[in-house]
């Protein structure tokens, strides 16, 4: 084809309404390939709608969505993997079999699919839990299995919708650190949606702030943090504190008088 392959996710003037409710309005967003962008905003600002629009499960009423050159829903679905807040693991399948689902969907045999996934369990700290049913795992473990499943789908783009929102604070901190290390080792183009500013700063290269309903982009912040080893050091660094304050201020402004969540 003559057209150059676009190397980014680009939303141009995207509006989506559900009946009388305008979920997102005239959103412009660019995510270059390989970059991690965190979208923060108050609850109900259409963050999840945005992800549905990007991955092709939903279509905008106005505007255009382009994911690495694909504008049709099927093409976008081909390029995006979606990880929602709920792990949505199949309760009748073992952890290993759950993670192997994307491969089986592509026509790979059960055995071969599991053989492919097994080494990933080692790598992602799930060794020994292969044969556990989801209900035998902790929330953090389940979310890890869900991530491995997303990862196994082999998509270029990961769309994470408050992936650790259902976890308690301690598990969430561990999960965030785990995900950061994983994404550093296995770079992907990531759009992360969250209302947790710390999570956004820890996982994103760039932060986009959305207003409350209808969602609109109000601010952008580049995350430029010192390369330190631990999450605790990072969270305590002056750069982190300053950025967090800026983002919280933007959130407060966007939500009117209401204080931002958390």
């Amino acid at each position: 084809m003559g057209l150059p392959r676009r190397d980014e996710i680009r939303l141009t003037g995207v509006t989506r309404r559900y009946g009388a409710v305008v979920a997102v309005e005239r959103v412009d967003l660019v995510v270059p390939r390989g970059r991690r962008v965190a979208v923060v905003g108050p609850s109900g600002c259409g963050k999840s709608t945005l992800l549905g629009l990007i991955c092709g499960l939903d279509e905008p009423d106005e505007g255009a969505v382009d994911v690495l050159g694909a504008t049709d829903p099927a093409g976008r679905l081909d390029r995006c993997a979606w990880m929602p807040q709920r792990d949505l693991l199949l309760p009748w399948r073992s952890a290993l079999a759950n993670a192997a689902v994307p491969l089986e969907n592509q026509g790979i045999s059960r055995r071969a699919a599991r053989a492919v996934v097994r080494p990933l369990f080692e790598r992602f700290g799930l060794a020994g839990f292969e044969d556990h049913r989801p209900r035998q795992l902790s929330g953090g473990m389940r979310q890890r299995v869900a991530f491995v499943r997303t990862f196994v789908a082999g998509k270029e783009v990961l769309l994470l919708d408050e992936p650790f929102g259902a976890l308690d604070a301690i598990s969430r901190a561990a999960a965030q650190e785990w995900l950061r290390a994983t994404l550093d080792a296995e770079p992907r183009t990531v759009v992360l949606v969250t209302h947790d500013v710390e999570e956004a700063l820890l996982l994103g290269h760039e932060i986009v702030v959305l207003t409350g309903r209808p969602g609109r982009v109000t601010a952008r912040h580049l995350v430029d943090l010192p390369a330190v080893a631990t999450r605790r050091e990072l969270v305590a660094s002056p750069e982190f504190v300053r950025l967090r304050d800026q983002v919280l201020a933007a959130l407060e402004q966007s939500a009117g008088a209401e204080p931002a969540e958390r």
């Binding site: 709920r86 949505l88 309760p91 839990f129």
Partner: protein, 277 residues
């Protein structure tokens, strides 16, 4: 993220000895067995004390005697005939029910066109339709199979359709982002998720099957437990009637147990952590 030892493991039974297992089975079924024994004893006693005549209410011992004396020649072949009707009819109902439910699930048009008639088919009273079928098909196996299948397929269709429709829509959305097409979603998500619901329907159907077969035999037959009853009632052979009833009940219970065993095998995951029932 501590790898938590699953809490429910603590509540699970330890690997038990054979004796422990025997005791559990005993403790589970003993109460029901005790009730049965008590009722039979009271019944036996009542017939003896009040001198009830055998053709009005035979004592359990008389029923047992009839069961043994009339087994060869009458009850054995009748049981076999009825069992065939029940099992074949039930099998037809399961196959038809599953196919119909899946068809209706996949096609919105089929659902709109056929579902009302499906419900309509259940308003036809079996009592009325049984003689008509006997006229059309004669004293053959066919009308009984139709009756059993007709009564049994409906709970299966409704339960399975319900189960298929109540799958979490987010699961289907997720599957679409994981290379899942319509068929993959059906096979890996919808069908397994709907199985527990389907088995609820199957258990209901299992309870209807024997009744439907007897209805069919009442309306015209040359053998079967219904036929035996129809012959025995005018001759006041009440003990034989009760013996046939006992065999029918045993048949229903056996079918129910069979369905439950299949359920345990196929959807054991849905029962983990539930209380034993």
């Amino acid at each position: 993220m501590a790898s938590r030892v699953p809490a429910d493991r603590a509540g699970q039974r330890p690997a038990s000895s054979r004796a422990g297992r025997g005791w559990r089975v005993l403790r589970r079924y003993l109460p029901a067995a005790a009730v049965l024994v008590a009722i039979l004893a009271a019944w036996e006693l009542a017939t003896a004390v009040f001198g009830v005549r055998d053709y009005i209410l035979p004592a359990p011992s008389a029923v047992a005697r009839a069961l043994v004396d009339r087994w060869d020649g009458t009850l054995a072949s009748a049981t076999w005939v009825t069992l065939t009707e029940v099992l074949l009819g039930f099998a037809i109902a399961v196959v038809a029910g599953v196919l119909i439910a899946c068809g209706l699930h996949f096609s919105r048009i089929a659902r709109a066109a056929l579902y009302p008639w499906l419900i309509g088919s259940q308003t036809v009273p079996v009592v009325v339709i049984a003689p008509v079928l006997a006229i059309i098909f004669g004293y053959t196996l066919t009308p009984k199979l139709i009756l059993v299948a007709l009564l049994c397929f409906f709970p299966i269709v409704v339960a399975l359709l319900d189960g298929l429709a109540s799958v979490d829509p987010d699961l289907s959305r997720l599957m679409r982002t994981l290379h899942g097409g319509r068929w993959a979603i059906f096979r890996r998500v919808e069908l397994p998720a709907a199985l527990p619901s389907m088995f609820t329907g199957l258990r209901l159907s299992a309870a209807y099957a024997a009744t439907a077969a007897v209805f069919g035999e009442y309306s015209g037959s040359s053998d079967g437990l219904g036929h035996v009853m129809r012959q025995a009632v005018p001759q006041l052979q009440s003990a034989l009637v009760f013996a046939a009833i006992a065999l029918l009940s045993a048949m229903s219970v056996a079918l129910f147990v069979l369905v439950t065993a299949c359920e345990r095998l196929l959807v054991g995951w849905a029962h983990e952590g539930k209380n034993d029932r």
